[in-house]
Assembly symmetry: C2
Homo-oligomer: 150 residues x 2
DNA sequence: TTTTATGCAAAAGCTTTGCACGCCC
DNA sequence: GGGCGTGCAAAGCTTTTGCATAAAA
């Protein structure tokens, strides 16, 4: 098992970005979070071990990594954005309005939509990480039974 | 041409909500905006005519209308949400990452996705107003020609 | 050595909240 | 008249920004 930080070092250097411990840690935590962590959560996780790291640095670094194409940013509704390493397997999130549960789904699901947008509107959808809101199976069932098939 | 406010009065009363001039104006402006206005923009438009109406009232009223099911809330990336009257013809927004342009598209485009989510995951997607990010036709073309088919 | 990133703190935006007055029912 | 909504202002929260120091190249 090689040091995963080696890959992060290389990714930063290749883009002419400086390699700092803060950036390496942030990349590591983003990867661990698998696209589920907000900027604040990323900061909290890092500060649990290294309290000196300031939240301002997190925000600046996330913007940098996003512009460099290393990290994607997805807005999960009323909550803040969540971050994810690009190049990880593409997936999407079904967010339940009621219970807040998040379900991961594969990327092929969006193929028909992408194709339609491109042919009909020439629009190249950036769908490496999509958030879809609604009711999960459990909550939909509960709502039906609670009100006697409303 | 009947007074559109009559419909708003009725909609509020039917749900046991009080009818106030502020709420009527907010509903009217939301309808005019056709799902493109943020809370602040709604406030600005109203204050252009009636400066006394406070932004706090806008926020409180939008939350009320959303909970009452009269208005839908869509998060268009960066930050603020945009608001739209429910029951208006469903449509969605293609938001260009580069130029910020917003293209309206019909609702049937999402039918295959909705069906797949329901059969595969039992997830009832709430897709009355969807935001899809990417590159519009113009910007995609510009990018290709600029870098010689990158 | 030069350039750039970080820590720190203050500021900036957006949204929420408490209170007293006024309007809707 | 009773209760709810609004105006007002202050507080809260997330994110951004300026500056001096520290670290990377």
């Amino acid at each position: 098992m090689t040091d995963p930080y080696v890959a992060y070092r290389e990714a930063l250097s290749l883009r002419g970005l400086r390699v700092t411990p803060q950036r390496l840690m942030i990349l590591h935590v983003i990867d661990e979070g698998n696209g589920h962590l907000t900027a604040e959560q990323i900061g909290d996780r890092i500060r649990a071990k290294f309290p000196a790291i300031h939240q301002g640095t997190i925000y600046r670094t996330l913007e940098l990594l996003r512009e460099a194409g290393l990290v994607s940013e997805t807005h999960l509704g009323d909550r803040s954005a969540v971050y994810e390493l690009m190049g990880n397997h593409p997936h999407h999130h079904l967010v339940c309005d009621r219970c807040g549960s998040i379900t991961e789904v594969g990327d092929t699901l969006l193929d028909p939509l992408r194709a339609a947008l491109l042919t009909e509107f020439g629009f190249r959808a950036r769908t490496e990480h999509f958030a879809i809101f609604g009711l999960c199976a459990q909550c939909a069932q509960q709502r039906n039974s609670a009100s006697g098939i409303e």
